[in-house]
């Protein structure tokens, strides 16, 4: 483990995210959360490692698979839970739900449920950042599948052409819903990006938050010397099904064995001692967030009509 990062702190972050999502699984059958949930279980270390390096001013745009990045970036747990419960105190007043979390106070700029749609938005934010002469980072986070959309090509081209201060993060879990990457893509991700004269990096240990943070921190230091578009592919593994609360192999498209190698290295599974130590405190926080959510008022029709224009 890399000593530049406090293993315990990052472990805590990652465990917190996992426990939050495990709690969501537990309560999902109660229908308290009545919207689709795309879980990040197995992928938490990516969000935690990256966000460890970021400030609250740095801006991050991500996807419907939003919980991990929301929490890692510093979004409020209570407000997230209230959002999932469809309450007025939710971070988006109940209008967003699990697929549309946002917490601008900490630079968590929004998540789109239309694949790849947030990528150009991040490029645009980086354009503004550069034009306004400010120095914060902008991150576009997306999955491997998102690279198949045309707008990805357009976004890479524009970012490179104007040498914008943006970091593209591709969380490669090798699946889009139930389709494997090689069934959908004729290109290798990084070689393709390099054709746009964009520098690429690869973080293969996506299960290891400290490794992710270290690698990303090096990249960011260099980036700050010379702001420019950078692409980082982070390998990771989805443990649960694409959407919903089931395992990711019950459909037969994937074997449990395939995940075993990842799980074997996953600190949240391996380091049972630390888990045992930290879990109780997190459990309390989660319970409080649920209590908060349940106590929060339900929106009214007047609320439905707000925020349109």
């Amino acid at each position: 483990m890399n000593s530049r990062w406090n293993y315990r702190d990052l472990y805590y972050q990652a465990l917190r995210i996992r426990m939050v999502e495990e709690e969501i699984i537990k309560i999902y059958s109660s229908d308290k959360v009545q919207s689709p949930v795309h879980l990040s279980i197995g992928q938490e270390a990516v969000a935690v490692g990256l966000c460890a390096v970021l400030t609250e001013q740095d801006m991050l745009f991500s996807t419907y698979r939003s919980h991990a990045f929301y929490l890692a970036k510093g979004g409020d747990l209570k407000q997230m839970m209230a959002e999932l419960f469809g309450r007025l105190d939710g971070c988006c007043s109940g209008k967003g739900g699990s697929m549309h979390l946002s917490f601008p106070q900490v630079g968590f700029m929004g998540t789109s449920a239309v694949v790849a749609s947030g990528i150009p938005n991040a490029v645009g934010a980086a354009f503004a950042e550069k034009m306004l002469g400010r120095g914060n980072l902008t991150l576009a986070v997306f999955g491997d599948g998102a690279t198949e959309e045309g707008v990805y090509h357009e976004s890479l081209n524009f970012a490179s052409l104007h040498r914008l201060p943006i970091i593209f993060i591709c969380e490669n879990n090798q699946f889009a819903v139930h389709s494997r990457q090689h069934e959908r893509q004729s290109y290798s991700l990084r070689k393709h990006v390099e054709a746009y004269a964009i520098e690429t990096h690869h973080i293969s240990q996506g299960f290891d938050f400290c490794e992710v943070a270290s690698a990303f921190s090096d990249i960011c230091n260099d980036f700050k010397e010379s702001p420019r578009p950078i692409f980082i592919e982070v390998d990771t593994c989805r443990y649960m099904e694409h959407v919903g609360t089931g395992e990711d192999f019950y459909g037969g498209y994937r074997s449990a064995a395939e995940q075993a190698e990842w799980k074997r290295q996953d600190p949240l599974i391996k380091d049972e001692a630390l888990k045992a130590e930290l879990a109780p405190q997190i459990a309390i926080e989660i319970n409080e967030s649920i209590a908060f959510a349940e106590a929060s008022p339900l929106p009214s029709y007047a609320d439905v009509l707000k925020h349109v224009l």
Binding site: Q34, A146, Y301
Partner: protein
């Protein structure tokens, strides 16, 4: 009589299109997976081959353009979207290419592509998984748009459009109906252009409800409810929003003098607007009372269930509107007190 779910009617239609036409192909994300597009393409890749039932990259515009080109060269592609909202990425190919290819080149080509897209509330879909773009498509000449409201309609319209019609079609399928069982009368399937014609779903004399998709079912429910209180609703299932039967509409209104349009999308610039135009351009004195329109609230769709329930019209609002129009006093007729349409129809629970 045979009963059949909407889903099974879709599955049968997909199967038959592949079986009856060797040039039919199905494109779509996940059409060959173990969920098979909510069960409507299950087993087809195995039976007809992966080259005819193809999973695609996440490239809506590109795949639509590929369908257009394949259609120009002899195939009959079906392109499936699990949400109509995703079709917005493909609108250039649909509106600028598919809808115009025949016209632009003076009739040289036909473009038999069939786009299936799922609409409708189900489970906290939110703003980007809930839209119902029939008005958008219907504004552009060159397309046919259908909104089947039952299994019989699926069997009829899909058979016609996938065999004997040769232009681009958009079919909007409501997610909440997939699990519903419908009566199917195979001996009397409508054929040819009749297969997509508007029709009387219920006869009545007090008010004409013009409805699309699941709102036809809602209309039937409200009609049944109000019948007990002596209100007799006539219901027109629009069926195809590009092929509204104006005669049927006007005849009905001559009888009832009252018009309520119930659509699955927003009211402004929607089906309600078009129906009102058809009426007012024909006869300014047909209605006894102002028309009314039911649709989604004039906002993007909120995710929280409690807001969703207010966002979509429910049976009580439906009944209330009718009661007010026929001039019955509300005091006399209790309103149904269902909270939510989806509670009524839904057999499934999350995620989609």
């Amino acid at each position: 009589m045979e009963t059949m779910s909407y889903r099974d009617a879709l599955a049968e239609s997909m199967h038959d299109a592949l079986a009856n036409h060797s040039n039919t192909v199905i494109f779509g994300q996940g059409v060959d997976d173990f969920k098979g597009t909510f069960g409507t393409t299950l087993g087809l890749a195995e039976k007809f081959g992966a080259h005819r039932v193809m999973d695609t990259p996440i490239s809506e515009e590109g795949i639509t353009g590929i369908c257009v080109g394949a259609a120009l060269n002899g195939l009959r592609p079906i392109h499936i979207h699990i949400r109509a909202d995703f079709v917005f990425l493909a609108l250039n190919q649909i509106l600028n290419m598919a809808a115009k290819y025949k016209y632009m080149f003076g009739g040289h080509y036909n473009v038999p592509i069939f786009i299936r897209a799922v609409i409708g509330r189900s489970w906290g879909q939110g703003a980007q998984h809930s839209q119902s773009p029939q008005a958008l498509f219907s504004h552009f000449p060159g397309l046919k748009v259908i909104m089947p409201s039952n299994a019989q309609s699926i069997l009829e319209s899909y058979r016609y459009l996938l065999s004997d019609y040769h232009g681009p079609v958009v079919s909007l399928e409501h997610r909440l109906m997939y699990d519903i069982q419908f009566d199917v009368d195979r001996a009397n399937l409508r054929t040819g252009e009749q297969a997509i014609a508007s029709y009387l779903a219920r006869e009545g004399k007090d008010i004409t409800i013009v409805a699309t998709s699941i709102m036809v079912l809602e209309a039937v429910r409200v009609a049944k409810y109000l019948a007990e209180y002596g209100i007799d609703c006539e219901i027109i299932d629009v069926n195809s929003t590009t092929d509204i039967d104006q005669q049927l509409l006007l005849q009905s209104l001559e009888k009832t003098g009252r018009l309520l349009v119930a659509d699955t999308s927003w009211v402004s610039y929607g089906v309600a607007a078009e129906i009102n135009r058809l009426v007012l351009e024909h006869n300014p004195h047909l209605l006894k009372v102002p028309s009314k329109s039911l649709g989604m609230a004039p906002t993007p769709c909120p995710t929280a269930k409690v807001m969703e329930d207010m966002y979509y019209p429910n049976l009580a609002q439906f009944a209330q509107a009718i009661i007010a129009m026929v001039g019955a006093s509300e005091g006399d007729i209790p309103l149904p007190n269902e909270r939510s349409m989806s509670d009524v129809y839904k057999k499934f629970r999350g995620p989609f």
